[in-house]
Symmetry: C2
Subunit: 413 residues, 2 copies
């Protein structure tokens, strides 16, 4: 292992989460306390900011430990984000883009590059790793995962998932209470984020594992949605009790690949003939109203799922911070062109604990970790206890922001 | 003042809130600690439960003070709710219904009747007050207000409003953070509850008063919505910065009385020709997409506004509890056929405080307290500082439930 001295730069990319700033705080904390790293820079709006030279010095923002605590509890990407896909070899702007990046690296004497993001962001890390290796620029590049969707390979779970799952499972407990107060037959359909993977929808059922109320039907995008079976199940449930709560993934599809949210009852159009993408829950609301004539309400949990820092998972926030710190340690030890991962200590009967590792970025980028088959019941309308046992420790503990004047105190760069 | 000895019964009615159980806890606490009240009963599902004789003894559920604390932090109506409108004199079932109620009163020796609810529930209290007075049955009847909408007359604000306003204003801070991470031009439209009164939508702007981010445009149902002015304002804002956040009341109407959520761009219909009630934010999303071609997202905050006990206002929860206790004290002192109210101590420069009073129910039932004209700016696209100064103390402090296994602990009857 060779010692590498120079400056570090960190950026955030992709959709916000309630925990991505905890990871940023961890990276900055680690860099500030490193003997090998000099200045610590931040790219505004991810790789876009590096290219556009909207680069800021972060050192002055952290005079004490309290500043890290505020950043840890701040939702969304404090440095800003982007959805940039770097060009591939052969693309027109390939050479120009990467030469500009190297030029920027030289300008700021960057020897450590940390990129916090999801699937698409790991693609950026992979491409930059490849280019710098080929051109021989010495820099240690590490991807630090974040995504509420929990769909990255190689890591037991993703930083950000636990907090989204916490918000969803807590809100589901409240919705189950709310919808239970009347005796009139009613169906409530709750739409949860996740276009490809159903991890977040699965988390809405976690109350069942500990004897609390839970949704009556739960549908994940990993299984083709069958409208007839749905109506059968719904009718049976309505004959047994008045209030039925259904959890559905936004990415739910029929066997033929059509999205449930796209059509269902023939596809509503607006006055201009535009196809109306109603959303999965709204489409099912219309379908149930038509078919069963009962009172139906749809609820799309929407953005708060990824930014509700007011009820984050303590486990998630602490792990997100720690994996950021671990990225610095790994880079100092010579690790490069890898993504940090969280590994679960799986000792039967012992309390949950985790350790941090790293993996070849090429094995991870542009792939999706789905909810495995054995985590979904045979009928495809619930997840299994094993799935819930996997999720439960990740929502343990409550992380709250500080409040002033009744409103949360968030970090500002 | 004459001493009246007998049993008490309490019920909950109308839509759930995060604070209605705090009031229930206050009524039960007061009744349990009263020298004049013997047994304490609860009606399941409000007045419906009294008529159907689903009446339970509450005494056993409160062995210690902790039980009240859990109930205080539990959302939705723990006794269940109903939307029953009692018959009016002249209606077919008038005599039969009220005779049955008196019969039930006699069966349980009810001398104290407490009804926690909103506008419609105060109608029940008013009718029951009138009937018992006319028939000479001695009972003290008190309505205790609750509604997230804050639209009851006579009271400075309603129990339940502060917690909904807290959830909305905190979530708005998070949404403002979330939507600010990208540099691509985008409009986010947030739909907030309130069909007639815009109090909750107004609360989304409260951050502005204390120097925090706040929505760029805010529209209340008290003012006719002008689509042209909206587009003018939006275009101007988009020329100045990339991310625009708009807060709209669900009850927003055009000058001709049509709901914005009903039509806007001509009224989408589904495949069966059913009119598609998209919701206000969704309708505006389509309109903006058509007209300006920018990225638009709509968010309906939906049910969590009224049941998010996980981030309730401490001020609201404590007041809701206290007004329940105050109802018992008032009834013991001979007050009857009145609704409890909260009065604000309005001493310039002093911290917020409140006291509890009561008012003639007939002055309150079936009326609506709107956001006054001078609380809305001239252009009709913001609320004034005075409005925000009224709201700010009501969201002060955080009330959190206890958690076990990462999930909130709620009360069960």
């Amino acid at each position: 292992m060779s010692i590498l001295r120079g400056n570090a730069i960190v950026g955030q990319s992709g959709g916000p989460t309630a925990a991505i700033n905890a990871t940023l705080a961890g990276v900055i904390w680690g860099a500030m306390h490193s003997e090998n790293i000099g200045r610590v820079y931040g790219m505004k709006n991810g790789i876009d900011g590096l290219l556009a030279d909207t680069v800021i010095e972060l050192d002055g923002y952290f005079p004490d430990e309290d500043a890290y605590e505020v950043l840890k509890r701040t939702p969304a990407a404090a440095l800003g984000s982007c959805r940039k896909k770097l060009p591939t070899e052969g693309d027109a702007k390939y050479k120009q883009t990467f030469e500009k990046i190297i030029e920027q690296f030289k300008k700021y004497d960057i020897k450590y590059f940390f990129y916090i993001g999801g699937n698409d962001s790991m693609d950026t890390v992979a491409k930059l790793s490849k280019y710098t290796k080929e051109c021989g620029y010495e820099v240690r590049i590490i991807g630090v995962p974040k995504t509420i969707d929990n769909d990255l390979l190689g890591t037991d779970h993703t930083p950000g998932f636990g907090s989204a799952a916490k918000y969803i499972s807590v809100t589901m407990q409240e919705i189950l209470r709310d919808t239970a107060v009347y005796t009139v037959k009613a169906v409530t359909i709750v739409e949860i984020m996740g276009r490809d993977a159903g991890w977040l929808t699965a988390s809405s059922e976690v109350g069942r594992l500990v004897g609390l109320p839970s949704p009556d039907l739960v549908y994940l995008p990993e299984r083709a949605f069958d409208m007839d079976e749905f109506f059968q199940d719904l009718k049976k449930l309505l004959s047994e009790k008045p209030n039925i709560v259904v959890a559905v993934s936004e990415g739910l599809q029929f066997a033929d690949g059509r999205f449930v949210g796209e059509s269902t009852q023939g596809g509503a159009v607006d006055a201009f003939g535009h196809k109306y993408l109603a959303g999965t829950a709204k489409a099912l609301e219309l379908a149930v109203k038509d078919k069963l004539g009962v009172k139906v309400r749809s609820i799309e949990l929407n953005l708060p799922q990824r930014c509700a820092a007011h009820i984050a998972s303590k486990c998630d926030i602490e792990e997100s911070f720690s994996v950021g710190k671990a990225a610095i340690t790994a880079a100092e030890q010579g690790v490069s062109r890898e993504m940090m991962v969280i590994l679960r200590d799986n000792n039967e009967g012992e309390p949950y604990s985790s350790v941090y590792g790293h993996m070849d970025i090429d094995l991870i980028a542009n792939r999706t970790k789905f909810v495995p088959k054995h985590y979904i019941n045979e009928r495809g309308n619930h997840v299994t206890d094993e799935c819930l046992r996997y999720i439960l420790p990740l929502i343990e503990g409550e992380s709250y922001p500080e409040y002033k004047n009744g409103l949360p105190v968030f970090f500002e760069f």
